[in-house]
Symmetry: D2
C-alpha cells in the first residue's frame, strides 16, 4: 500500500469517487437492523460486508471506508442496544478495517476510518467524554494504517470540531462532513460558518453527507464554498455524500423527520440519471470528493463514475454491464423498448410513482427539539412501554 497516491494527491489530480450507503444497503440485504444500524455486521457477517465493498469498488469507488458507523462504545450500549453484550467496540472496528483493507487491495483503493456523532454529546456529557469515545476508534484506525480519517454525520459543528481535534492528534489527512442542509447546523450556525470552522479546526476536506437529497446538498455546499472563499480558506477540498432519496419537503433536520423514515422511503429513491446529474453539478461547483450516503447502491456510484469518465479518463469495471444512457436496450426484444436506447430519453424522463393515492410531499415531524433538550437525553436503558405510549400520543 506504500506506493499508492494519497487522498490529497488524488484530489489535486481530479475527482475522487466515494462509496455508497452501507447501513441502508445491508439493512435491505438482511444484515443490519434499522435504528441502531448495528455495525457488528463486520464481525457477524463479514462476507456480506465484503461483497458490498467489492460492488462499490467495481462501481468505481476510490475509497473503501471501513464500516464503523455508530461503532463508538457509547452508541453500542445506548437505549437497550445488545451489541455490547456480545462484542467489544474494538473488535467491531478491527473487523471493519480488515475487510476494507482486503477489498481496497484488490483495486488500488484507499482505506478510510470514520467517526460520527455520539450519544454522549447529545446527552451533554462534555468535551472530555466525547473526545475519549472518538479517540478509541481513531486508535484502531491508526493501528491499521488507514490512509485517512473521516469525521462524518455531525449535526452540531461544535462536536465535529472536537472530532477533528482528536484526528489531528495523528498525522493523517482528515475529511470532515456534517449532515446539514442550507439552513445550517441544529444550533443555528450557518452552513458557511460550519465550513469555515471545520477548516480552521484542521480538516483538509470539508463538506456534507447524509440527511438531504443531492440537490439540497449542492445548495448547501455552495453556501459552504462561499463561506470558505470569503475567509480565504481556499486550500481545503470540497466533499459531498448526499442521500439517494429525494427530500424536497424536509426541514432543517433532514430525512429523519420525514414520516417515511426509515421504512417507507422507496418512492424517493433516486434513479441513476438523477445521480449523473448530481455528479456533473457537484463537479462544476468544484466538489472533488464525490460520493453518496444512505440509499446509494452500487449502481448509483457507477453513475457518478460514468458521468465523470471524461475527467477521470476511464470507466469503472462495472460498466461492462452498463452501456451509457440505456444503450444496452438496443438488444431488447420489443421495438418500443429499443426506442428508449438513447440519452435524451433517459435524461428527460420524469418517472411516475405508480402511487395515485399518495401525495408528492410529506409534512416533516418538526418536533423542534435539539441537543440540550431533555427529550434528547440518551441512556443505556431501553425505552419503556410507558415512555413509548407517551411518544405514540404525540
Amino acid at each position: 500500500m506504500s506506493t499508492k497516491k494519497g487522498i490529497l494527491e488524488r484530489l489535486r489530480e481530479g475527482p475522487v469517487i466515494g462509496d455508497g450507503g452501507f447501513v441502508f444497503a445491508l439493512e435491505k440485504r438482511g444484515y443490519v437492523k434499522a435504528g441502531p444500524w448495528t455495525p457488528e455486521a463486520t464481525v457477524e457477517h463479514p462476507e456480506a460486508v465484503r461483497q458490498l465493498h467489492r460492488e462499490f469498488l467495481r462501481a468505481g469507488s476510490d475509497v473503501m471506508q471501513a464500516l464503523t458507523f455508530y461503532a463508538s462504545d457509547d452508541k453500542l450500549e445506548n437505549r437497550g442496544n445488545e451489541a455490547q453484550t456480545k462484542y467489544t467496540g474494538h473488535s467491531i472496528n478491527q473487523a471493519a478495517c480488515d475487510i476494507a483493507k482486503e477489498v481496497a487491495a484488490e483495486g488500488g483503493a484507499l482505506v478510510a476510518g470514520g467517526i460520527c456523532q455520539t450519544p454522549s454529546y447529545l446527552s451533554g456529557l462534555g468535551k472530555a467524554v466525547v473526545q475519549s469515545e472518538f479517540r478509541k476508534q481513531v486508535q484502531v484506525f491508526v493501528e491499521n494504517k488507514v490512509d485517512f480519517l473521516v469525521c462524518e454525520y455531525f449535526e452540531h459543528v461544535e462536536e465535529i470540531e472536537w472530532a477533528i481535534e482528536v484526528c489531528k492528534e495523528r498525522s493523517l489527512p482528515v475529511a470532515s462532513t456534517m449532515c446539514i442542509g442550507p439552513e445550517g447546523d441544529l444550533h443555528g450556525v450557518s452552513a458557511g460558518d460550519c465550513a469555515v470552522r471545520m477548516a480552521k479546526a484542521g480538516a483538509d476536506i470539508v463538506g456534507i453527507n447524509c440527511h438531504f437529497d443531492p440537490a439540497t446538498v449542492l445548495k448547501a455546499i455552495r453556501l459552504m464554498k462561499e463561506g470558505l472563499v470569503k475567509n480565504g480558506l481556499t486550500n481545503v477540498f470540497l466533499m459531498t455524500q448526499p442521500l439517494a432519496y429525494w427530500t424536497p419537503d424536509c426541514n432543517k433536520q433532514g430525512f429523519i423527520d420525514l414520516p417515511e423514515f426509515p421504512f417507507a422511503l422507496e418512492p424517493r429513491i433516486c434513479s441513476r440519471w438523477d445521480i449523473q446529474k448530481y455528479a456533473r453539478e457537484a463537479y462544476e461547483i468544484g466538489v472533488r470528493y464525490i460520493g453518496g450516503c444512505c440509499g446509494f447502491e452500487p449502481y448509483h456510484i457507477r453513475a457518478i463514475a460514468e458521468e465523470l469518465a471524461p475527467e477521470r479518463g476511464r470507466l469503472p469495471v462495472g460498466s461492462e454491464k452498463h452501456d451509457p444512457w440505456g444503450e444496452g436496450l438496443k438488444m431488447h426484444t420489443k421495438p418500443w423498448v429499443r426506442a428508449r436506447a438513447r440519452r435524451d430519453y433517459w435524461e428527460n424522463i420524469k418517472p411516475a410513482s405508480g402511487r395515485p393515492h399518495c401525495a408528492a410531499c410529506s409534512e416533516p415531524s418538526s418536533w423542534g427539539v435539539t441537543a440540550g433538550d431533555t427529550d434528547l437525553k440518551q441512556g443505556r436503558a431501553a425505552t419503556s412501554d410507558e415512555e413509548l405510549r407517551q411518544l405514540f400520543k404525540r
Copy 2:
C-alpha cells in the same frame, strides 16, 4: 438432499416462500446488463450470485431457483448478444445449478431449474424449434437432480403449453407461471383459460409471475382460480411471484410498456409493508407458493416470511435484524422516530414520492404489436443505427 420433503408435499403442509428478482437485483449490484439480462453472471461472478442466493435463503426463501433466466441458446445469441461468443449455454446453466445447489444445502431449501419464453417463438419458428431450446436447458437441470422444474415468464399460453410438455417428459413436478394480468395473454386468451390450459398440460402448480404489481397479480390469480374451479381442476396449487413495483397504469403488456422501464422504476418500488399486505391477501385467496419477481430484494422476501410466520410456525433467520412493524426504532436517538415503532403507523403509511414535478401515473407505450407482427421478429444481428433512428421517431 434425498430426505428433503418435495415441493408438492411442502405445499400441502402450508405456504412455501419463493425467492426474489435476481436479474434486477444483480443489475443494480453491477453484474447483469439490462436488456439481455446476461445470465452468464453465473460463470463470470459466481460469488455475487451466491451472495444473493444466501440473502434470499436468510430472508426465508424455501426455494433456490437457479439463475437460468434468458439462458436458452437462441436468446444468448439474439440481437448482437455477445454471451454466446464467450460461453456455451450449457456452461451457464450448469454454473447456475452449482450455485443454487450449494446454497440450498446450507438451509434445507429446494432447488428448481427454470425455462422461459424464447425469441424463437416470437419469430414464429414453430413448436419443434422452440421445444428443442427448452429441452437443452431441462437436460442440464435433470442431470443436476433439481427438485422441480419451473416454466415462467410466458406471454402466450401456447408457448407455455409447449414448455410444460417438454418438462413432463421427465418425472419432476412442474410449476408454471405466465407474465399476464387480468386481461389475459397477448393473444387474447383469458386468465382463467390460461390457468386451465396450463393445468391440463400437466402443470402441478400454476400461476403468475412478473409484469404486474402485487395487487394486479392477485386480481388475475382470482380469475385463474375461478377458471380452475369451474373446470374442476382444484388439485393444482396456485403460485404468485409479482413485481415489487407498483403498476396501476399498465396495459395488458405490463411494466415493459411503462416509459420508466427498466431504468427509472425507482419511485414504484414497493415498501416492506406493501409486501406484507400482498402476502396476507395471497394466502387468503389460497395461493400457496408465494414469492416475488423483478424488484424483490431480500427484505421483501423477509416481509412475506414475517407476515406468514404464524402459518409457518417460524420466523426467517434474517428477522434477527428486523423487529416486527418497525419496533427496532425503539432504540432510535430521536423521540419522534421512536414514536414510529408501532404497527398502525407503518400499516397505514401513504409514502410521498418526494417528486413534486412528477406525475402519479404514466401512459404505457401501447404500440399494440404481439407475436406474429414483423416488428417482433428476432435475429442474431444487432439493431442497426438506421433501424434505431426509425424507432426513435415513433
Copy 3:
C-alpha cells in the same frame, strides 16, 4: 317562436350545443344550497338565474333548459327541505319556464323542460306515485309551450322508462339521459341495454349526463352506441352532458361517492382545453347533442362552441372576448406569457395541482347500497342527530 327550427331538425343539420351546470354554478354564486340544490332560486332570485342563462346563450348554447332540477314536489319536501313551506312546486317550475323563455328569445335558442329521478322511486313507492310526480312537472312545461322535454339524471333505467312514458303522453320530442358510466345502471343493466331501453320507450335522443368526467362519459356513450347499432336503433340521436370534473377514480356511482363531493372538487375542474378535446371526440363518435352538467361554467360551453365552429359555421358571441388557443396573450406585458399564445402550448399542457400534499386519486365511499336498500328510504323528516352520529361513525 313558431318559426324556429325544432330540436330534431337542428340535430339532423349538425351539432347542437347544450348548456352547463346551473346548480353548481349558482351554488358558488350564492343562490342555491348544496344537497337539496334548491330550485326555488327561480322564484327567489330570478335575476341571478337569468344572468347565468344569458352567459350560456352568449357562450353558444342552443338550448335554454329551464332550471327545474330536483323541483318535483316529493323532492321539495324531502328530508327537512323547507322549500315546500314557502313555495308551491308549480310556482318554481313556472318561474323557471318564464326565465328560460325570456332568455331563449334573445338568441333564437330552444326551450326545454326537464324531469329527473325522484325520492319516491328510491323509497320504492311504485310506478303510479312516481309517474304522478313527473306528470305535474310536465304539465307546466306543456302549458308553457317548451320546445322539447328532457328526462335526465336517472340512475335506474326502470325509472327513466317511466319518465319517458309520461313525456310521450304529449307530442313533444323527448331527450333522455342517465347518470351512468361504462358499468351501467345501479341495478346492473349495461350501458348498451340502457340505451336500447330508452330508445324503445320512445326517446328521440338518448345518452348520458352528470356523475362522470368527459372521458368516462364518452367511454360509456360508445357502449350505448354499440347497443343501439346491434339492435338496429340507429334513428335516435346521441347526447352527452358530462361533469366538468375529472373522475378517473370513481366507481359505478360516480362523483357522489368521491370524498370531495360536493365541497372540495376544485382540483378536478376541467380546463377549457380539456373541454375542447371532449367536444371533438364526442362529435367524432357521432354525438350530436353536446353539452355539460355540474361544473360546466360558461367558458366551458364556449370551448365546445369554438371547437365545433367549423362544423357549425360560426363562433359564439362570447368569443369576442376569447381568441382561439390563447392567442389573446399576444397582448400580454411579459414576453414569456406572450410565448404561450399558441395552440401546441395549451393543447399539450399538463396542469399541476399546486397541492404537493394531496394525492392524485381518491378512494370512493363504496358503501354499495342501491335503490331498495333500507338505507336509501327517503322521507319528509330531517335526519336526526342520532342518525347523523351513526352515519359519522361508518
Copy 4:
C-alpha cells in the same frame, strides 16, 4: 351615503371584508379577455358587472371596488389593444363607478376606486408620465365621491410610492397593496421595506394583493408587519387580497410565471375550506382588511365572512344558502353523503386532483427580466408574427 362609517372607522371596529377577483370571474363568464383583461366590460356589459358586484355584496363584501383594473389610458392602447379605438378611458372608469355605487347602496357597502401599475413605468417613461396616468383615473374617482382610494397590483415599490403620492393630493383614505411575496419587490426591496415605504408615502392601509396563494401572502404580510413594527409604524392597517389559486411552486414573480397561467389554473383553485383557514390566520396575524383577488368567486368571499362571523357578529346574506361546514348535506339522499355533514370532515380533507398524469408542482418560467430590461418595453403596436416566432422558440 353621507352617514356611512368610513373605511378607517370600520377597520378600527373590526375586520372589513374585501371583494373577489372581477377580471378572472368575468373572463369565465365571457365578458373579459385574458391578457388585456378588458375593463371596457363596464361599458359593454354593465349588467354582468353589476351581477358580480351583487354576488360579492351578498357574500359579505363590505367594499365595492369599481372595476377599473388596467383602465389607465396607456394600458388601454398598449400592444394592439383595441379598447381605445372604441371607448375613452374616462368613460370606462365612469361606468365602473356608476355600477359600484349602485350596488353599494343596496347594502351599505363602501365604494373604492383603484389604480394599478402602468406600462409607462415598465417602459421607463419616468415619474411625470406615470403620475399623469394615475391622476386621470383618480380625478374620475373623486368626482364620483368614492369613499377611499386603492393603489394595488404594483411589482415595484417605487411606482406605488408615486401612486400614493398622487392619491394623497386628495383628502381620501388610501389603501396600498403590492403583488409581491416573501422575496420582496422585483427590484430586490424586501417585503418589510416595501411596507415601510408605503406607510411613509402616506398609505393608511398597506399590504399585498394577487400573485400568490393565501399561505404565501400571509408569510409575506408577517414580514411586512415586522418591518412596520421595527419602524414604529403601527398606526397603519394591514390588508391582504391573495389569489384563490395554490402557488407553492412560484418564484418571486408569482403566478404569472407558472406555465398554467392564465388558462389552466383550474387544479389550483382553493376550496372554501382553504379560504376559511386563510381568513382565520389573517385575522390572527392582525390583518383587518381581508379579501381576495384573482380566482376568488363569491363563495370564497362568503367563506371569509362565515369564518369571521363571531368577530363581526353576523353572517352574510348569502349564508342562507350555505350551512356551516357542510351541514346542508344532512338533507342529501345518500347516507354516505350525509355522513360528510360535519366540520372535521371538511376541515381535514386533502382533495385529490383526479389528474394522475399531472404533477403536483410546475417549474416557473423564470426568464428573470424585470423593469428596465428591453424585453419589457411596452408599446402601442401589436406583437408581430416574427416577434412571436422568436418568443415561441425561447
